[in-house]
């Protein structure tokens, strides 16, 4: 974007993510591999750094998007200043003894394990032995009544989906009563690694921080004192209390892998290949101003305005001055995230109205619209039918707008139109026809851009989805120090079980730029 008028401030780089929701089949592989990697320990049985929700649905933890209740994120006070919704500093300290806005375990779910032993140790009898569920917290037999993905595939929608905070009034009723005709899509969620993280700002101990080099938001396990204000402040409820260690834990964006130039575990194992990782350069001096944008609906553009064009020589010069290494600038130019977020503008942030400037963005799903077109007897493949549906269908459009644009349906409609036009054009090209470039032009794409965007979204080669520059050799001392410590050490007796530190076994290597590194996986 041209930035002639304003000078560029302090340039910072962040590893950001985009997810193409049309491709998510809700298989939960990301959640499971994440859990196996990070939260398969006592104290965080209930925590999912990555989870996949079915929308519409109340989500995990229940109704976490209801900020009237949970007080997450930022808001503007009467004078237009940015303040945490959970209150000012003194108010926060006064609620240290009992935090009134902290979700209880019942808002997540009671974690369970099973009596697996019974399967092999039960005495011989006429019936097959069963493994009964037991609470992982109390060890007692329990009934499973809720879970992190309880509403998978709209399960229980007649009972629960109306409680989705993104649905109001008549919609809630309609979704409740017409759930089998309603739309459905999956929403994978992890920590947003926000530019203006509310959790960091709420931490009384100063234990949470955003890393200067790559923007990853972490909890310093040695400085966390368990005041649990971060859990309340995070509007996405992606910081968790480890009840065994008494410390906060959160998604680490798999920083040991990122430092080695590898994608996060959730991205690496994504079956649908819907995740993209890449650098975004941003102007750190403009973050506060963007987050305090008066109108919620302008927050999306304000956040895009904070991002810098890595192709702009002025930006590159400012980035060099800020100490961003040359190979990172090169990676920023090849960033699929920059293309989807700022160049083609098809990716949108989740709940920009929380004012945290989240850094995991989503390409909104076209499938709810296409389903509705088919349901109404239309032709999914006729762009005119789909265009008409995009402008006419209130429920899916308003719903997506509530998720991704603070309620602005025009922006969501614009993105969906773009995807429809692209779909129509590339479909014609694949069938050997010329393709109608006028359709592309109407949504602001040239034929070349159309093919480029199609390649990024549909072909989605491994090397094009993940452009992760490795951490720098001059940082090797810090990385070596890191090897001695696991960021999520487990609780328990320090002396027992061969020492409490778990080695991650991640090599501290520096990859060559991707051309010479991992082979093509896709």
């Amino acid at each position: 974007m041209p930035r002639g008028e304003a000078t560029i401030g302090h340039v910072m780089a962040q590893i950001a993510m985009v997810m193409n929701l049309d491709k998510c089949i809700g298989c939960h592989t990301c959640s499971v591999t994440c859990k196996q990697t990070w939260t398969n320990r006592p104290g965080v049985e209930y925590a999912w750094f990555n989870n996949v929700e079915t929308k519409p649905g109340v989500g995990y933890p229940r109704r976490y998007e209801d900020q009237e209740r949970w007080k997450g994120g930022w808001t503007l006070d009467a004078k237009g200043r940015l303040v945490l919704r959970s209150g000012g500093r003194a108010e926060r300290l006064l609620s240290l003894f009992a935090n009134p806005d902290l979700p209880g375990i019942e808002d997540y779910y009671e974690p369970v394990t099973y009596d697996y032993d019974n399967l092999v140790s039960a005495p011989a009898g006429p019936d097959a032995p069963v493994a009964r569920p037991r609470s992982a917290l109390t060890g007692e037999p329990t009934a499973i009544t809720w879970g992190a993905n309880w509403e998978d595939g709209l399960g229980g929608a007649p009972e629960h989906a109306g409680g989705d905070p993104n649905l109001t009034g008549e919609w809630a009723e309609r979704v409740r009563f017409e759930f089998e005709q309603t739309f459905l899509f999956h929403l994978p969620r992890l920590c947003e690694h926000c530019l203006n993280p509310a959790c960091v700002s709420a931490c009384p101990s100063g234990a949470m921080y955003k890393r200067v080099e790559d923007g990853i938001v972490l909890v310093d396990q040695n400085r966390c004192r368990g005041w649990r204000m971060c859990v309340t402040a995070c509007p996405y409820k992606k910081v968790y209390v480890n009840h065994a260690t008494g410390k906060a834990e959160k998604c680490t964006f798999c920083f040991p892998r990122i430092e080695a130039g590898l994608p996060t575990v959730c991205s690496e194992t994504c079956v649908g290949r819907l995740r993209y990782l890449g650098l975004l350069l941003y102007d750190a001096d403009r973050v506060g101003e963007a987050a305090a944008t008066p109108d919620e609906r302008d927050l999306l553009e304000a956040q895009r305005g904070v991002f810098l064009d890595p192709h702009d020589p002025e930006v590159r010069a400012a980035a060099r001055e800020s100490g961003i290494p040359e190979d990172w600038l090169d990676a920023a130019r090849r960033s699929p995230v920059y293309d989807l977020v700022s160049r083609y503008k098809v990716a949108l942030p989740l709940h920009p109205e929380y004012r945290t400037l989240p850094m995991v963005w989503y390409v909104p799903p076209l499938s709810p619209i296409l389903d509705a077109v088919s349901g109404a007897g239309g032709d999914q493949d006729d762009p005119d039918h789909v265009f008409a549906a995009v402008t006419r269908l209130r429920i899916p459009l308003d719903y997506l707008a509530n998720l991704f644009t603070a309620g602005d349906t025009d922006i969501v409609a614009g993105v969906l139109m773009k995807l429809t036009a692209l779909r129509s054009y590339m479909r014609a090209r694949s069938l050997g026809e010329a393709g109608d470039e006028a359709v592309l032009k109407a949504v602001g794409l040239t034929a070349r851009e159309g093919e480029d965007l199609h390649r990024l979204l549909a072909v989605a080669k491994y090397r094009e989805r993940y452009v992760v520059p490795a951490a720098h050799q001059e940082d090797a001392a810090a990385l070596t120090a890191l090897e001695n410590r696991c960021p999520v050490e487990s609780s328990g007796d320090p002396g027992s079980a061969g020492g409490r530190r778990v080695m991650l076994g991640i090599p501290t290597q520096r990859h060559r730029p991707p051309d010479a590194s991992t082979g093509e996986h896709a």
């Binding site: 109390t138 009384p204 921080y209 040695n222 008494g246």
Partner: protein
């Protein structure tokens, strides 16, 4: 009070043990224990919150206990550290002092006992929390309860229903002697049993302090009031970049 040349010479062996040796040992453990814990166990240094697992009892119990404890501690500072002659010089008579102390102390003590009772009850009755109770909690909760109950029992027995006992002439003298490095064991040796037991359990509580979750007291996040909202930290050992005009502090990371 003894007026002999050296007060320790007149004290019996038992008094020396209970009112000189035990307090100093406990204070030494308190000091050395904290240094050791701070240097070796930052990861274990936490409030160890259990609000996630149970919040209904905690909602009332924890504020009652903590606010009550603050008042009780303030009362002890005034009652133990400030000599009676000072308050009298400030124009507060013995009667006025004790009336205030008994009333304020009763309110604070009741809040603290009620809060601690609720916190103990949830720990015992909620299975999730009972199972998460570690060895240090099993030491801390009974010791703290005993100290608090003995303290409030002493006040109730002697100053609320009893004729009144001027601990400022005895227990306080002993207390100040400990910290003034001029031990006065004879000052407390004739105090009523409840006051003596309260003083001893308090000593033990100080000795146990560094090894329990009580260490979180020293982490009271007062600095949060003046800290910039956003915290950036470097992963690397390279010097931080110039930061201009942002509400950001860029402290050096020595780990992670």
């Amino acid at each position: 009070m003894s007026t002999t040349g050296h007060p320790l010479a007149a004290a019996s062996g038992g008094d020396l043990l209970l009112w000189v040796a035990v307090p100093y040992i406990c204070l030494a453990v308190f000091a050395v224990g904290h240094v050791w814990r701070y240097r070796h166990d930052q990861f274990g240094w936490t409030t160890h919150t259990s609000q996630l697992l149970e919040h209904r009892w905690l909602r009332w119990g924890s504020p009652l206990f903590h606010l009550g404890a603050f008042m009780v501690i303030a009362g002890h500072v005034v009652g133990l550290a400030v000599p009676a002659s000072w308050t009298e010089a400030a124009g507060i008579g013995e009667h006025a002092y004790h009336t205030t102390a008994v009333w304020a102390g009763s309110v604070a003590g009741t809040a603290m006992v009620a809060g601690l009772g609720m916190l103990c009850a949830r720990r015992l009755l909620t299975r999730r929390i009972r199972l998460g109770t570690d060895r240090s909690d099993k030491l801390l909760f009974p010791l703290l309860s005993a100290t608090v109950l003995l303290g409030i029992a002493a006040t109730a027995a002697h100053n609320l229903v009893g004729p009144g006992y001027d601990y400022r002439a005895t227990v306080s003298v002993w207390f100040r002697g400990i910290f003034g490095l001029q031990p006065r064991p004879e000052a407390i040796s004739d105090a009523p049993l409840l006051f003596q037991l309260h003083a001893l359990t308090a000593c033990l509580l100080f000795a146990a302090w560094p090894f329990t979750r009580l260490v979180h007291v020293w982490s009271a996040p007062i600095g949060y009031l003046v800290r910039p909202y956003l915290v950036y930290r470097r992963r690397a050992t390279t010097p931080p970049p110039v930061s201009r005009g942002t509400a950001a502090s860029v402290p050096r990371a020595d780990h992670l």
